[in-house]
């Protein structure tokens, strides 16, 4: 992950979107990042546009505004490319808000989080501002799709002076609930500790010692994954939840994320896995 130098905040004039601007302002100051405001719609003079979007006058000098006449999600995604954005911050719902309880995010947010290659920080419907953030929680399932989240969290935490807690939740019962890397449990006092160690190591191999030193706790728990994460977020006063995910929000997918989106009050940073690197070990079926 490259250091975040540019943050994109889509605004549509709603209070929810302005909450995103507050987070961006707070983050931008600490990351020394440029803030880009994007508004999809007809062009108008910049000051007029910012006023229409509800941006306070004192904030305006810090912002670059981009007005793009395209559908909102497409405009956001093309701006990510064009301005080399490192982070998108947006609310789960825009101006129209949730129509009923059946959707965890609005259609624009959904399209952005599904298609964005860069991390997207989503303010959930029940978001409550709580600055400064002091800690972040990173659930690690052991699946490759979640790996990049720890690297992102550690790098961010190092720059924001946050502590990082990791959670691995074993399913409530039955086999196959855990994707822990280890397969054997010989000598539990050795194997389990080592499995956790390796789970962390393989998820942040490029992080510096200082970044890895941000890890302050590992919560190994058992139960329903959603329940456990919600409990940990509440009990530990988590300021930022960092989730690795595969990017598919369709029915039947991302069930935990959808629950968290409805039930937590802290921002959720969604991180997709990095492209699979070119690698081959010439043994077994790969032997030649």
């Amino acid at each position: 992950m490259k250091p975040i130098a540019d943050i994109l905040i889509p605004l549509d004039g709603s209070q929810r979107a302005l909450d995103g601007l507050s987070v961006a302002t707070w983050l931008g100051a600490r990351l020394e990042a440029r803030l880009h405001v994007i508004n999809a719609g007809p062009r108008c003079p910049v000051d007029e546009a910012l006023a229409r979007l509800g941006v306070d006058e004192h904030q305006r000098p810090q912002l670059e505004i981009h007005q793009i006449e395209e559908p909102a999600a497409a405009a956001i995604l093309s701006a990510v490319e064009r301005y080399r954005i490192g982070l998108v911050i947006m609310s789960a719902f825009g101006e129209s808000g949730p129509s009923d309880g059946s959707q965890a995010v609005g259609h624009i947010t959904r399209e952005v989080i599904e298609r964005s290659a860069v991390p997207v920080l989503v303010l959930p419907p029940n978001y409550e501002p709580a600055f400064p953030w002091r800690s972040t929680l990173v659930p690690l399932s052991g699946e490759a799709t979640t790996d990049e989240s720890l690297t992102t969290a550690l790098q961010l935490a190092h720059r924001l002076d946050l502590n990082v807690a990791i959670a691995h939740v074993a399913g409530p019962a039955g086999p196959g609930e855990s994707a822990m890397p280890g397969r054997y449990i010989d000598q539990v006092h050795h194997e389990f500790a080592q499995m956790l160690n390796q789970l962390v190591a393989s998820a942040c191999p490029m992080c510096s010692i200082e970044e890895r030193a941000r890890i302050e706790a590992f919560h190994l728990t058992q139960g329903d994954v959603g329940d456990e994460l919600i409990r940990l977020v509440e009990e530990k006063g988590v300021g930022l939840l960092v989730l690795g995910w595969h990017g598919r929000f369709i029915i039947g997918h991302a069930r935990v994320l959808k629950r968290l989106m409805w039930q937590v009050r802290c921002p959720i940073l969604l991180v997709k896995p990095a492209p699979k690197p070119r690698f081959r070990l010439k043994v077994g079926e790969e032997f030649e």
Binding site: A144, D147, A170, G171, A173, G174, P175, G176, E177, S178, M180, P181, G182, R183, Y184, I185, D186, Q187, V188, H189, H190, E191, F192, A193, Q194, M195, L196, N197, Q198, V200, A201, S202, A203, C204, P205, M206, C207, S208, I209, R212, A213, I215, A217, F218, H219, L220, T221, Q222, K276, P277, R278, F279, R280, L281, K282, V283, G284, E285, F287, E288
Partner: protein, 983 residues
């Protein structure tokens, strides 16, 4: 199709020319820069011939440096997009096809007819979306069983030439593998596709000026027209190439079986590669980290026997997430030392490493034959400057205190200022190496000297490094040179490693050692090391003639077993050897039960050293027996330096406060009998009377004494209560079959050795009996105990009960997902598991594994059938035991599955934890499964004898098997050929 079967190339070429010429003129008319028009002779072959239409557009425009938007496939011909222009060309072609029609090559049609007459199936592939239309126009559609054109390719998602997708699909539709087929092509891209698809023969048709290009891209035969070939000639070419290919492939694969190679780079797998690519010699082990390690690398150096008190800090072997009580024992865990072969290379200030550098090729190769790790990385910066860094390292087998490294830096296509620094990687000593305190030392000219003292155990380890650049006259650790294009800078390096266990002054010893080394002897030092590896392979190599991949894996295991152990009688082999921090370097029953039988038959001198380690820790075992309230010697379940047990009594999950009791430390007492088993097998394999008279006898007698005190009399029998057997899911059980059997074996062998000593070495016996204060009455009591000790026997169904009450426990049907991958519930719900019949690993089945002669085939089958379905293989030691027994039972599907699971356990990371070190016991047990299971080898006076059933048990992929076994000082090369009758 075009150019081979039909003559539409002219139509296509004309359409392409019309398209591009018109387009370029349009641009010019809009005031945009002009470009050369489409040239039939050059541009057709170079950019569009044989390619899908849109790729042709991209390729030609790129040749003119033009970029247009991709557009959409539905773009009309008027759109200035890739798709729009491609569609415009299509219209132009259709116009010409309708106006002029398609012609065929008569010679091609004649050859097709001849082949079809010989029963050969034919397929036609073309990138053209008009393929079927053209064939119909030409009247040859019915000459092909399979037709795939551009529309099919799009529908099926097949990539265009030179990708072989469409050819492979066509072969599949004819019901054949690509290797069985012939590709005939006139386009260079098509020839390349045929070669990349591994077709049996690729024929190039040169319609003019293309012969060299076709040959260079892989055409086996190039003809001007297919009239030059007939079916017989084609088949002769096919056979000729197949023969050449077979020889080339076999030679290549056979050579490749001597190395393990990684291509590319995945940071998430780096810890795993570091374990696999460890170099070592038994005295030290150096993980295979990159020469410039990543920030998260576990670039450890381990020295056998250097332990220190437990350090809970991250990222050490025990996470702080799980606390444990380990007291103040000063030898709790093996010490990680800094990486001594670190390298920093930069060109004009740009660092060359995989973290920051832009690399284009990376390979890491473990040369198993010579015990050398080779790394090659080619970097290319954004200015196109290519620099190659090659490193070689070894831990000398000829000189255990010596590490060697060679580095070559080549600026391939540029000149530049190259900076090289050779150092010890001491970054964050406090975090990465928390046991160590760095010693302040005065600087030594030409020697980079570091020394560290462990905090609690007080050991000192010294690293002395000398390095020299090839053309330099003095030793330094930092160089800066102007390098010209193609020229190489070569660095050589000696590192001496000494510790205070071996030398009173390890610092001076390390300095003297490297100062004694001469640069002109560098190659000789390497050859001395390689000669030792050559000796190793004389006895340790196993070769499967038909399966180089299996041979490679067996060699990889033999390599790691060799570098795990040497001849120091005060150390043994930790569960993960000197290749990783896991298991903290602790020594378990693994050594005597799983590894020792391997060393006995390949390196008995190493086996002797391993048993002497038990002799050196005998006092610790005596102490432990006393602490537990017994007599004699009770060996530690987890042992390091003194023989004291380092197993914690519990672990605590910090996050929940949940306590998990650990029973193994005080209940898994079978380890003492396991050691007596090792001694007995050593005696059988070597006849080493000197060892048996001294160390062997004393251990056998003292462990027997322990068992005599551990057994309790009840109801006229003796029992062993409150133990844990190999199956650690069940603790505090009574009369565990394995434990009781092994205890009786221990007692029997103690009495045997007493008798042997009394008869052959009476003075020795008298002395030993006196020193052990072992009265005859006590020995007589052992005899009674042997007869009266309860050892579970097969029931009416032939099944031996694992322990008292096992048959009454809750039965549990293991799902497929649980087998080989026990869920975390085994930790959270340990007591529920304890109350069920789920077994972690072979327990009762260990008995026929260790003593093949003791039970009948029927009893073996009954126990295998009962216990195997209840076992979730929560240990790497379980699959090889099952492989051996399944092989003996002739159940080859099971045997194959379990054996493969074991064989590739580390190379394929099937356990997911090889990053923390390799699994030595599993490696050796895999060897046992092969030798004693599949081959059924038994040793007699005349040497090893392979079971008559072995030829029928060999796995199909192996072919003829070659293995050498040592017995009583003689090497017996064995060749086992597969039998004709296979189950």
């Amino acid at each position: 199709m075009d150019g081979v079967v039909t003559r539409t190339a002219e139509l296509h070429a004309a359409a392409w020319k019309a398209l591009f010429d018109a387009y370029l003129r349009e641009r010019e008319s809009r005031g945009q820069p002009g470009f050369p028009l489409f040239q039939l002779e050059r541009d057709y072959l170079a950019h569009v011939d044989g390619k899908p239409r849109y790729e042709g557009v991209r390729s030609f425009l790129a040749s003119r440096g033009l970029e247009v938007p991709e557009g959409k496939p539905t773009d009309g011909p008027e759109r200035e997009t890739i798709y729009g222009l491609g569609n415009r060309k299509d219209h132009l072609f259709e116009q010409r096809l309708r106006a002029q029609g398609a012609q065929v090559y008569g010679s091609t049609v004649a050859l097709i007819d001849e082949l079809r007459g010989n029963g050969i199936r034919t397929a036609l592939v073309t990138s053209s979306r008009h393929g079927r239309e053209v064939l119909a126009t030409a009247g040859v559609t019915d000459r092909f069983e399979v037709i795939l054109d551009g529309n099919d390719a799009a529908d099926l998602g097949l990539r265009g030439k030179p990708n072989p997708d469409i050819f492979i699909k066509a072969a599949a539709l004819t019901g054949h593998w690509p290797e069985q087929g012939v590709v005939v092509e006139d386009a260079v891209a098509g020839v390349e596709a045929g070669r990349r698809g591994h077709f049996g023969l690729v024929v190039g048709v040169d319609r003019g000026g293309n012969r060299q290009a076709l040959a260079e891209q892989g055409a086996d035969v190039v003809v001007a027209d297919l009239a030059e070939l007939n079916a017989e000639a084609l088949q002769a070419h096919f056979r000729e190439r197949a023969a050449a290919q077979t020889a080339k492939t076999l030679a290549s694969r056979t050579a490749a079986a001597w190395r393990v190679e990684q291509e590319g780079f995945d940071p998430a797998r780096e810890h795993g590669m570091e374990s696999l690519f460890t170099v070592g010699n038994g005295y030290l082990g150096l993980r295979g980290a990159l020469a410039t390690p990543l920030p998260g690398s576990q670039a450890d150096l381990f020295v056998a026997g250097i332990y220190d008190r437990k350090q809970p800090s991250l990222p050490y072997s025990e996470l702080e997430f799980m606390a444990q009580e380990r007291g103040e024992y000063a030898y709790s865990e093996i010490v990680s030392l800094p990486f001594p072969l670190a390298l920093t290379v930069s060109v004009d200030g740009q660092p060359l490493d995989l973290e920051k550098g832009s690399w284009r090729e990376h390979r890491r190769t473990l040369d198993l034959a010579n015990g050398v790790l080779i790394g090659v990385t080619e970097y290319r910066d954004d200015r196109g400057r290519q620099t190659r860094v090659e490193t070689r390292r070894l831990a000398s087998l000829a000189d255990p205190h010596l590490l060697m490294q060679e580095v070559t830096v080549t600026c391939a296509n540029h000149a530049g200022l190259v900076r090289i620094e050779a150092a010890v990687r001491e970054t964050s000593l406090k975090i990465n190496h928390p046991h160590l305190q760095r010693r302040d030392l005065p600087a030594r000219a030409g020697v980079d000297l570091r020394a560290y003292t462990t905090r609690a155990s007080g050991y000192t380890v010294a690293l002395a490094s000398r390095s020299r650049l090839e053309d330099d006259v003095e030793d330094r650790s930092y160089w800066q040179r102007e390098a010209s294009p193609g020229a190489s800078l070569r660095l050589q390096r000696y590192v001496g490693v000494f510790d205070s266990r071996h030398r009173d002054d390890p610092i001076e010893a390390a300095v003297a050692h490297v100062q004694d080394k001469r640069w002109e002897s560098f190659d000789q030092e390497r050859r001395d090391h390689e000669a030792r590896f050559a000796e190793l392979w004389e006895t340790a190599d196993i070769r499967c003639e038909s399966s180089p991949a299996t041979t490679q894996a067996l060699r990889f295991n033999a390599y790691h077993l060799r570098i795990a152990a040497d001849h120091d009688p005060r150390v043994s082999v930790g569960a993960r050897t000197l290749s990783g921090r896991a298991y903290e370097g602790h020594v378990f029953w693994d050594v005597e039960v799983f590894m020792l039988p391997y060393y006995l038959r390949t390196a008995p001198d190493v086996a002797r050293s391993l048993l002497l380690y038990r002799y050196h820790t005998l006092d610790g075992a005596r102490q432990r027996a006393r602490e537990l309230g017994y007599r004699g010697a009770c060996y530690a379940w987890e042992s390091t330096v003194t023989g004291a047990d380092t197993t914690p009594r519990r672990i605590v999950l910090k996050s929940s406060g949940k306590e998990v009791p650990i029973y193994t430390g005080y209940e898994q007492v079978h380890v003492s009998a396991d050691i007596s088993y090792g001694i007995w097998r050593y005696w059988q394999a070597t006849g080493d009377a000197e060892f048996l008279q001294t160390a062997g006898a004393e251990i056998l007698l003292e462990t027997a004494r322990f068992w005599a005190s551990r057994c309790v009399a009840d109801g006229g029998r003796y029992h062993i209560r409150g133990v844990t057997g190999p199956d650690e899911y069940h603790h505090t059980v009574n009369d565990n079959a394995y434990t009781n059997w092994m205890a009786r074996f221990n007692l029997e062998k103690a009495l045997w050795v007493k008798q042997w000593l009394a008869e052959h070495h009476p003075e020795q016996w008298a002395s030993l009996q006196a020193s052990l204060a072992l009265p005859n009455e006590e020995l007589e009591a052992w005899q009674t105990l042997i007869g009266d000790l309860y050892v579970p026997r097969p029931n009416a169904e032939g099944v031996i009960e694992q322990f008292e009450g096992f048959f009454d426990l809750r039965d549990y049907h293991l799902s497929a997902a649980e087998r080989f991958r026990p869920p975390l519930q085994r930790l959270f719900e340990a007591e529920a598991t304890n109350a069920s019949q789920i077994i972690k690993q072979a327990d009762v089945l260990m008995l026929p594994f260790l003593f093949p002669e003791v039970c009948s085939r029927e009893v073996l089958a009954a126990n295998y059938d009962y216990y195997e379905p209840r076992t979730d293989h929560g240990s790497s030691l379980s699959p090889p035991v099952h492989a051996a027994l399944a092989a003996r039972l002739g159940r080859l599907d099971d045997a194959q599955r379990y054996w493969r699971e074991s064989l590739w356990l580390d190379l394929s990371n099937t356990m997911g934890n090889s990053a923390l070190g390799v699994h030595a016991a599993s490696m050796a047990a895999t060897w046992q499964a092969l030798v004693f299971g599949f081959l059924g080898v038994r040793f007699f006076e005349q040497g090893p004898v392979v079971s008559a059933e072995a030829p029928r048990r060999l796995l199909n992929e192996w072919g003829t098997l070659h293995v050498t076994l040592l017995d009583r000082g003689r090497a017996f090369p064995l060749k086992i050929e597969p039998g004709e009758e296979r189950p």
